[in-house]
């Protein structure tokens, strides 16, 4: 290790320091909410600045195990944004319930640190360690409301299945290491490229591929590895659900980019059929089950499974020979982050008063009761549906475009994705129907979220509105995808 290595991993180091600083501030100034928030938000701001300063540069550290390139910067900025938004939305939820903010913030930033490390990993072992660093704090966050039995139940389920899937993934990585003799992403790519040239897959590599696919599918909540999702999502404190639906998901796709696109790219003809099946099953099942949900949190959980399916279409398009599939994945991840966090934020806002459920009936008459929340929720839901000119539409359009470019089976997959998107309109608009076309049940008191919360809503809303209208973000996603050695 030398000083230039340290410079390269500066964003990750900065994130760790922020988490540590939060804990120290909490120790020195106990119970001072504002000091903690300033430290956390200001610190994350610094991390973002450090990242922005790196945009366009490319550097490697630790003998090529970690790479800071455009992809790393793009994803890391997204992770920082996720952390900031989660924090902005969490305060209004945690405080009335007497849950500690400092610990929440610190655990959250540690999780983000892991995610940031994933995006730059060019080594299978580092990738695995980074993944664990991301998910372990996640288990804590799910069980954060420790007096709530649902929260604990969700945490245990998430932990058990999460550890299980990590083990499976590790098993797969071990096979790859055994066969290729290296853990470096580039080395693996070169080694498997030779295998491909030499004929069919060896049983060992096939087994490794299967294990890794299953492990990653667990993490991204793809059908049939999604069973942990609804319980973990519904049981978590709502701001944590917001985080879970985007943070670990984008993290899982970061693994996919580094592991499947970069390291196992030469084998893409072998894993393409699996991805097609996964994508088709994931979006269809996620949507079908989402339609039947009466709890908005659970509905959004299943819908997030469906969105995993749409993103997988982008991966399939890449495997089908279209580089644009990768930038479509990145764009989708970013767009989904903002619109989905926005939707969860509205659920959080309604649940500020402890005891309010996330049943769909809670939304009845919201448009009349609280016009602003109603309008914002409508925007987020329309975006999730994929109505132009909102962010979600562009995300779908780019994925579909990539799939259509790949042609063949992928065109059929694109058509299936669009039929699914139409079906999804049913459950997303059902919430809008409740908000505007039904009368409120009982007398709900007016709801005025705090200042931080409003800032968070404004950010997610503006991003959802303008995301696709500005080509710069498309360009950024494309250049991030180009940083991959595929």
């Amino acid at each position: 290790m030398n000083w230039s290595d340290l410079g390269t991993i500066a964003p990750v180091v900065a994130a760790v320091l922020v988490a540590a600083a939060i804990l120290i501030v909490d120790m020195v100034l106990p119970g001072r909410r504002n000091a903690i928030l300033v430290t956390a938000l200001g610190g994350l701001g610094v991390v973002a600045v450090v990242l922005l300063a790196q945009a366009g540069h490319s550097a490697e550290a630790f003998g090529g195990a970690y790479s800071l390139d455009n992809l790393t910067v793009f994803l890391d900025l997204l992770f920082v944004a996720i952390a900031v938004l989660t924090l902005l939305f969490a305060v209004d939820y945690l405080e009335p319930r007497g849950l500690p903010i400092a610990e929440f913030a610190a655990v959250l930033v540690f999780a983000i640190t892991g995610a940031m490390l994933i995006s730059g990993s060019k080594d299978l072992l580092l990738l695995f360690v980074a993944l664990e660093l991301m998910v372990l704090p996640g288990y804590m966050l799910v069980g954060f409301a420790r007096r709530d039995s649902y929260s604990t139940e969700g945490a245990i389920k998430y932990f058990l299945l999460g550890s299980f899937s990590s083990a499976i993934l590790l098993f797969g990585l071990a096979y790859v290491w055994g066969i290729t003799g290296t853990t470096r992403v580039d080395g693996v790519a070169a080694a498997v490229a030779k295998v491909v040239a030499g004929g069919p897959l060896s049983p060992g590599l096939a087994l490794g591929l299967a294990f890794m696919t299953a492990g990653v599918a667990f993490k991204m909540a793809a059908v049939p590895f999604h069973y942990w999702t609804p319980d973990a999502y519904q049981g978590s404190p709502t701001p944590v659900t917001a985080y879970l639906s985007v943070g670990p998901k984008v993290g899982a796709f970061a693994i996919v980019l580094r592991l499947f696109a970069e390291a196992l790219g030469p084998l893409k003809a072998d894993w393409l059929p699996v991805v097609i099946v996964l994508a088709a099953a994931t979006m269809t099942l996620g949507n079908l089950v989402a339609i039947t949900q009466d709890n908005v949190k659970r509905m959004l959980a299943y819908s997030s499974i469906a969105h995993t399916g749409y993103i997988l279409v982008g991966l399939a398009a890449y495997a089908g020979g279209q580089q644009s599939g990768l930038s479509a994945i990145l764009f989708y991840g970013a767009a989904y982050t903002f619109m989905n966090m926005g939707a969860f934020a509205i659920v959080t806002a309604l649940q500020r008063r402890p005891g309010v459920s996330s049943q769909i009936s809670t939304f009845a008459g919201l448009g009349r009761r609280d016009p602003w929340l109603g309008v914002l929720m409508t925007i987020f839901l329309l975006s999730l549906t994929g109505i132009p000119p909102l962010a979600g539409f562009w995300a779908k359009a780019y994925v579909i475009l990539a799939a259509v470019q790949a042609g063949g089976w992928l065109t059929a997959l694109a058509v299936l994705a669009m039929v699914n998107a139409a079906a999804a309109a049913f459950y997303y608009l059902r919430v809008v129907t409740y908000m505007y076309m039904r009368d409120p049940i009982g007398d709900a008191e007016p709801n005025s979220p705090g200042m931080l919360f409003q800032v968070g809503l404004a950010v997610t809303c503006v991003a959802t509105l303008i995301f696709g209208l500005f080509p710069a973000i498309v360009t950024a996603a494309a250049s991030a995808a180009n940083a991959l050695h595929v």
Partner: protein, 503 residues
């Protein structure tokens, strides 16, 4: 001067302005909405006045690069067909807004914003010359209409509006795949350059050269056709229409029938047929048959309707059948007849929905069986209603006749049997319309109406103001159809040339 952008932006500015007005000022909101709708109307009339009738091609084009990575542009322009549609849209929009002054008292702000945003989307669809932009405007139309039916609609509005959305979305999302596939086919053929891949002019020229592969044409045409046929709506995709019409507020029905259905027909004329002529020819016969089924079926089902609005809705299915029949018989007369029928259906059916709204406003009922003898207490109303009934039934001298007659003439050359079958339906149309009118207007004042007593006042000045321009245009177009046909001369040639390629 960017006239088209001005026409698109005017209602948008109006909507934004209303958004910041206090909700309590309902009257101010109503007037602001009307003012902006009128302004857009004036701009569209100026556009019509400045439009050069002779030359083919698009006028007043504007193009700004939007997403250069994929060659997507903000590109708008109008030919004779679009100009007519834009004027129809702006006219019906201000009429609808004025007609909503009295009936809509709940959440006026949201209502007027929805209407103005709806206008933005509708105009955008008619002027977009970039397929991606077209798609965006197409979808923008969906949301306000969903809200208008769902919030301000009748008792069964939730079912109706969801059905409307899901039907439309299934079609339009498949259309998106088709648009992207078409653009990609163009891009592949142009050494990987996206320039022009979404541009209507470039794609149409490419299609005119017969360059799109037949398989692509078939699949893309089917996807576009599905989207447009649902919107028209063609048999058997029409089942959302009676529900949506019945539940929508009066002005919503006017726009739905007057403009939204035309979006589908416009899409067929502008995109589906010229871009994929081979597929259009392949499927012409099945579509013609479906059109005739729609014409006959719509008329027969109309006869047995017990609800005024449902009757007018089913008659729309029948009348719009003439439009699709006219489009797919590929002759000059039938093309012009189809477009004329689009306009006159917008005027006549819009008027009929307004008139149904007038009686509903007073009685809160639309059941035909309960009505009777309106002519005695509402003489002016009955007279106006009678006029629109005759126009809808295709009385010569009024616009409805010209359109259907031209379609008849145009399709006779291609398929005499079909043409004759469809013209016989005009008798059916007269049957259900006149019978309905007779039950409504003549005879003794019904029990139900008598119970209402003094509530049954004759049509008032605002209501007349909304109906008068429509009646005026119906007469003018009926007597001087050449006003429209002159505008359509160049687009007709372009359309026929595009279709002729595959012959």
């Amino acid at each position: 001067m960017p006239v088209l952008s001005l026409i698109i932006l005017t209602p948008l500015v109006g909507a934004l302005l209303i958004a910041v007005l206090p909700s309590k000022e309902a009257d101010l909101i109503r007037r602001t909405a009307l003012a902006f709708a009128l302004l857009a109307w004036v701009f569209s009339l100026l556009l019509l006045a400045a439009f050069a009738f002779g030359p083919a091609g698009f006028q007043f084009t504007e193009a700004i690069d939007w997403i250069p990575t994929f060659g997507i542009q903000y590109k708008v322009g109008v030919d004779g067909l679009s100009v007519l549609m834009v004027v129809l849209t702006t006219t019906l929009t201000w009429i609808s807004i004025l007609a909503s002054f009295k009936p809509i008292n709940d959440r006026v702000k949201g209502y007027m914003i929805s209407f103005l945003v709806l206008e933005v989307g509708m105009i955008g669809v008619f002027v977009a010359l970039d397929l991606f932009l077209f798609y965006i405007f197409w979808e923008i139309v969906l949301v306000p209409m969903y809200l208008i039916i769902g919030i301000w609609g009748g008792a069964n509005r939730l079912y109706a509006t969801m059905k409307f959305v899901l039907y439309t979305l299934v079609g339009s999302l498949l259309m998106l795949v088709a648009i992207l596939a078409t653009a990609y086919a163009y891009q592949t053929a142009h050494t990987g350059s996206w320039v022009g891949a979404f541009d209507y002019g470039a794609l149409a020229a490419w299609a005119a050269g017969g360059h799109f592969a037949n398989e692509l044409q078939i699949l893309a045409f089917l996807a576009l056709f599905l989207a447009f046929a649902i919107k028209v709506p063609m048999f058997p995709f029409h089942t959302w229409l009676p529900d949506a019409h019945t539940e929508a507020p009066t002005a919503g029905s006017v726009i739905l029938a007057g403009v939204l259905l035309k979006l589908g027909a416009y899409g067929l004329i502008r995109f589906a047929v010229p871009l994929f002529p081979f597929a259009a020819h392949t499927f012409a016969w099945p579509i013609i048959v479906l059109s005739v089924v729609a014409i006959v079926y719509g008329a027969i089902v109309s006869i047995v309707q017990t609800d005024l609005k449902r009757l007018v809705a089913y008659s729309s299915v029948s009348h719009m059948g003439f439009v699709t029949l006219g489009i797919f018989t590929f002759s000059a007369a039938s093309y012009q007849g189809a477009v004329l029928q689009m306009i006159s259906h917008g005027l006549i059916t819009g008027g009929l929905f307004l008139l149904v709204g007038v009686i509903y406003e007073r009685t809160h009922d639309r059941t035909i069986a309960r009505m009777g003898g309106v002519a005695a207490v509402m003489p002016i109303y009955a007279t106006v209603f009678g006029f629109f009934i005759l126009a809808s039934a295709g009385l010569p001298g009024l616009s409805g006749f010209v359109g259907e007659f031209l379609v008849f003439v145009g399709s006779f050359g291609m398929a005499p049997a079909i043409a004759v079958a469809s013209i016989i339906v005009m008798v059916l149309a007269a049957t259900y319309l006149l019978w309905m009118f007779q039950r409504l207007a003549f005879g003794e004042l019904s029990e139900f109406f008598r119970g209402l007593g003094g509530h049954l006042t004759d049509i008032d000045r605002t209501e007349l103001t909304t109906l008068a321009p429509l009646a005026f245009l119906i007469v003018v177009l009926g007597l001087f159809p050449s006003l429209v046909l002159d505008l359509l001369r160049a687009p007709t040639q372009v359309f026929l040339a595009a279709v002729g390629v595959a012959r």
